[in-house]
């Protein structure tokens, strides 16, 4: 296996109406890394994630996941090693019950029934959702839907976990549980989010996108310490790193 788990080389992508979304994005991800992908609305975060999973393909440049370049021919290999959790769990939970949904991926991998069952139980237990297995997804709360959506990806045993806005719409307690869950995963992780406090808790490295380009790439502490960079990219320090609103310290 290659040393780099994910590699993007000068990736360009324009939407069908001609709007440029990615304009030469390059970075590499190593085994076990946890990377926060941050940037303003429309900076290209979600588009970039769709390139990693081979839902979109670059108009020029290359994306590699593990040993495979992401092309229409290699998709089955790429999608075995990379799991994408979508922003809206309602897009991801399409089967009649939570257990059916979590089993969807393993069944498509052609695994035997007992292995599918083991994976479903394991993934649901991992996210603390074992009690939800026979519930229909439309009856779940926002936090439960998120947990089920993560379980549906974990059941495929991916090496890389990619998440789009995982904390969007969660109440503080559900968000805190999610952070604990993400910290417990040994997977290589890419988390696209506006929740900079979550990034501070979960990610050691940050890639900042700005208008389809990488504006900065470095350790979390140094990126969040650069006020002018954050301002230029429509970001701000995580609340915990900001001064106390009362005493200013």
């Amino acid at each position: 296996m290659s040393h780099h788990l994910v590699r993007l080389e000068d990736v360009h992508f324009d939407y069908p109406d001609g709007t440029p979304a990615l304009q030469g994005v390059s970075f590499e991800l190593h085994h076990g890394e946890s990377v926060g992908l941050v940037g303003a609305n429309g900076a290209g975060k979600s588009t970039l994630l769709l390139h990693l999973a081979g839902v979109l393909f670059p108009s020029s440049g290359m994306v590699r996941v593990g040993d495979w370049p992401v092309t229409p021919e290699t998709l089955s290999h790429v999608r075995r090693s990379l799991g994408l959790v979508f922003q809206d769990p309602d897009d991801q939970l399409f089967m009649p019950t939570v257990a059916d949904d979590v089993a969807f991926g393993p069944l498509n991998l052609g695994l035997p029934d007992d292995e599918v069952e083991a994976r479903v139980s394991g993934a649901l237990q991992r996210v603390g959702a074992a009690a939800l297995r026979s519930r229909p997804p439309y009856r779940l709360s926002g936090g439960e839907k998120r947990a089920a959506a993560i379980a549906s990806v974990l059941a495929m045993s991916p090496d890389i976990l990619v998440m789009d806005e995982p904390s969007a719409g969660l109440d503080p307690a559900a968000r805190r549980r999610l952070i604990g869950l993400l910290r417990s995963f040994e997977h290589t992780k890419i988390v696209a989010t506006h929740d900079l406090d979550l990034v501070l808790d979960v990610c050691a490295r940050i890639v900042v996108l700005r208008e389809g380009r990488v504006a900065a790439d470095g350790p979390t502490a140094s990126i969040f310490g650069d006020a002018s960079l954050l301002g230029a990219c429509h970001l701000e320090k995580p609340l915990r790193l900001q001064g106390c609103p009362r005493c200013g310290e």
Binding site: D91, F94, T97, F104, G105, Y138
Partner: protein, 272 residues
């Protein structure tokens, strides 16, 4: 419909399917046995002549059996039956007007063939719709879909059925939200006018298409290859076969023998 009405209707919609989780004697019967038996029931009910009424009555035993042994509450079934009853009433309403041939008299009231046919239509409607509702309430739509797939019903249709049911809730919520947003900014005309309704429907359609694309992408990301594999193992035993055979035999007897008439003759003599 107003946004609040849609929200209320939504909360009722999933209720039937939720009943299916209960562990009851009927809930434990194999979904395929229940599906075949219910189909046989529907065919039997549909096969009666338009003036048959009393001969249909014994068939009510099947929905009553499902209701009682499936531990299904009567109210949600009756509510849904009432909801769709206007269709049957509309179909049957011309019968008394068109077919005025007198059949007999109950005191001063002359019973015409049209009224008999109207009653027969309503009874057949009540029997078939309640049996279909009880099938879902005691089995669950997902298990019905698994049974359909087992009987080699084209996968496309089965998946359509599942997705229609799954996204009915999401899409209805989207419509409810759009209507609510409209009502809040249009206090004097809470219902959208034709021109606004057109563009609103267009927006909802575009959003639906977007969602469909996202769902498809989510499916592809988890290895979707055109086949949805329902991970349900169906186990049929001798009790399931007995359930199916017993009821089908009963339907056959009902169809061949007019049980109420036979009983009437046996109890009260041949009459006139």
């Amino acid at each position: 419909m107003r946004a609040d009405g849609i929200t209320a209707a939504l909360s009722h919609l999933g209720r039937l399917d939720e009943l299916a989780g209960a562990n009851t004697p009927i809930g434990r019967v194999d979904p395929r046995a229940k599906l075949v038996t219910t189909l046989a029931f529907l065919v039997t009910v549909a096969s009666y002549g338009r003036h048959e009424l009393s001969a249909l009555l014994p068939l009510a035993a099947y929905p009553i059996f499902l209701l009682a042994l499936g531990d299904v509450p009567l109210r949600p079934i009756l509510w849904r039956l009432a909801l769709v009853s206007p269709f049957a009433v509309l179909v049957g309403t011309f019968e008394p007007l068109l077919d005025r041939q007198p059949l007999g008299a109950l005191g001063p009231v002359v019973l015409t063939a049209g009224w008999l046919s109207f009653a027969s239509i309503l009874l057949r409607f009540a029997l078939s719709v309640s049996a279909a509702l009880l099938l879902v309430a005691t089995t669950g739509l997902d298990a019905v879909a698994a049974a359909l797939a087992w009987f080699r019903v084209p996968k496309v249709l089965v998946v359509q059925l599942l997705f229609l049911y799954r996204y009915l809730f999401v899409l209805s919520e989207e419509v409810a939200r759009a209507l609510r947003a409209h009502a809040l900014r249009s206090p004097s005309h809470p219902r959208p006018r034709m021109r606004v309704a057109g563009s609103m429907l267009g927006q909802i359609l575009l959003r639906t298409l977007d969602r469909a694309q996202r769902i498809h992408a989510a499916m592809l990301c988890r290895g979707f290859d055109g086949h949805v594999r329902l991970g349900r193992s169906l186990h049929a035993g001798s009790s399931d076969a007995a359930f199916m055979a017993g009821w089908c035999a009963f339907f056959g007897v009902c169809r061949l023998v007019d049980i109420p008439r036979v009983l009437g003759v046996a109890l009260f003599g041949a009459g006139r």
